[in-house]
């Protein structure tokens, strides 16, 4: 069994016991071991997130479409529930769409790092993440954000994160192989997604 086939098995079967061939491959393939470790960590982290309001259905459609477009997941075959359905169920009750999209793309970035890819391809994934988050940040302008201590703190910290992201992006563009810079960039994107989510929650919906 090859790496791609293991990915398909994981995608379609989820955490059910893996076929022997997949287990044999996993035992020897560091890349696939990393993939499984990442997925396990993401699911474990998702279980820790507090349950909040349910995002609209259109978000799942666009998120799925984005991930399919990037080749990270494939359309399910037949009526069998894929791991993706279980995975999305975990997030079904989460907060605003922007943060979910942001966090998922960040997760995709993490997976991308584990599967060595050409530097330009990895950069594109970061570009997508930055685009989504920047679009959400632009939406803040349409909201009536308050001037309380909390609102000011959120804005100041968004500024801190934005500046840090700029530093990290510059570094990653200069040195695509710098794993530490990538790790910090991923963390900063996650924080930005959470900040935007909190700010939107306070400012109300733009729709």
């Amino acid at each position: 069994m090859q790496c791609k086939e293991v990915e398909v098995v994981l995608e379609q079967e989820g955490w059910t016991p893996l076929p022997e061939a997949a287990r044999d491959h996993l035992a020897e393939c560091r890349n696939c071991q990393n993939l499984v470790e990442d997925l396990t960590a993401i699911v474990a982290t998702a279980h820790l997130l507090p349950a909040e309001v349910e995002p609209p259905a259109r978000i799942w459609v666009s998120l799925r479409s984005q991930l399919e477009h990037e080749g990270i997941i494939k359309s399910p075959v037949g009526a069998q529930n894929s791991w993706w359905h279980n995975f999305s169920d975990l997030f079904r009750s989460r907060v605003l769409a922007s943060s979910v999209v942001g966090a998922m793309i960040v997760a995709a970035v993490g997976l991308q790092i584990q599967h060595p890819a050409p530097a330009t391809e990895a950069r594109n994934v970061y570009d997508d993440t930055a685009t989504v988050l920047n679009a959400d940040e632009a939406n803040l302008d349409q909201m009536q954000l308050g001037s309380s201590v909390v609102d000011v703190s959120l804005r100041q910290n968004l500024d801190i994160v934005d500046k840090f992201i700029t530093d990290c992006e510059t570094r990653v563009k200069e040195e695509p192989g710098d794993d530490l810079a990538r790790e910090y960039l991923t963390g900063a994107y996650q924080q930005k997604a959470e900040l935007l989510s909190a700010m939107m929650e306070r400012g109300g919906s733009v729709n």
Binding site: N157, I160, F164
Partner: protein
């Protein structure tokens, strides 16, 4: 299970009380509240303070949860839900014209020693003392102070800092500009990440423990004891590594061969037998390693 059966199962639980505290004589007067909830096992207490204010939790030997405190005005309402051993309290703003000072609600909780907590506030301090149980604590600008707590502790802040004294169990802290201080911890798993705050770890590394401490722009400082046993990996992208404990660090003689990245500077080493794993990193801040006297 039909609707009737569901109703029979759930209604007695909820019958204990979804209700609203509405005793609010005047908009501007500070008022005191206190509510007692008898519990049987290990309760789960959730406080969601959408306004501002402090949340203080202390344990008692009793088998009841006491939610007491003050609210600044009647422009905030307190909603509670008590189903079995789960107690949810939310402070919600009912008047959108309310000023921040009018939305302040300060909570004082007494809980059994073994209690799970989920606390969320905006600007006030979260203080928890002598509670055993998993807890998730969230604040935007308020600090989080923990003393003698244990469990799986998750702390999320935007600007608030964490002080964790004599904590045990596992700790996961994430903040944008907040700092974290871990004093005399008995933690077996630590994961700290702050973009611009500082990190201080002053205590022993438990054998087999895993400790990850990362700060983007702040200082990461570790004070260890001479009896500790851990493998150390400290890396920074553009900051500095200030190793003041060179005499105690020897080359890692077991496990994986560490290869220094050409993009970072730092050190690998072992103290004692290397039983715990300590990973320190910074983007541009200083990493300082010291041995306690």
């Amino acid at each position: 299970m039909n609707a009737q059966t569901i109703g029979r199962s759930i209604l007695p639980l909820l019958g204990a009380g979804v209700f609203l505290w509405t005793a609010a004589p005047s908009a501007g007067a500070t008022q005191h509240f206190e509510k007692h909830f008898p519990v049987k096992g290990h309760p789960v207490v959730c406080i969601h303070n959408i306004g501002n204010g402090r949340i203080e939790v202390k344990s008692t030997k009793g088998s009841e949860v006491i939610v007491a405190g003050t609210q600044a005005s009647s422009k905030v309402s307190l909603e509670t839900e008590n189903a079995g051993d789960r107690i949810d309290v939310s402070a919600n703003i009912v008047d959108i014209t309310a000023q921040p000072s009018e939305t302040e609600v300060n909570f004082q909780l007494s809980v059994p020693e073994e209690t799970e907590l989920e606390l969320k506030t905006q600007t006030g301090l979260i203080y928890v003392e002598q509670v055993i149980g998993d807890m998730t604590l969230q604040s935007v600008a308020g600090d989080v102070h923990l003393k003698e707590v244990s469990g799986y502790i998750v702390v999320r802040t935007t600007h608030g800092s964490l002080v964790c004294a004599q904590c045990a169990g596992k700790l996961d802290f994430n903040s944008v500009s907040g700092s974290a201080q871990l004093l005399q911890p008995g933690l077996t798993s630590v994961n700290l990440f702050t973009t611009s705050g500082n990190i201080l770890f002053d205590g022993d590394f438990i054998r087999t423990g895993i400790y990850t401490m990362r700060s983007g722009k702040g200082t990461v400082e570790v004070h260890f004891s001479g009896n500790d046993s851990f493998d150390l990996n400290a890396q920074t992208m553009s900051g500095t590594v200030d190793n003041q404990a060179e005499a105690y660090l020897k080359p890692d003689s077991h496990g994986m061969k560490h290869m220094a990245s050409k993009f970072t500077k730092g050190l690998f080493g072992t103290v004692g037998s290397g039983l715990a794993k300590v990973e320190l990193s910074s983007y541009s801040g200083t990493i300082r390693i010291l041995k306690r006297d």
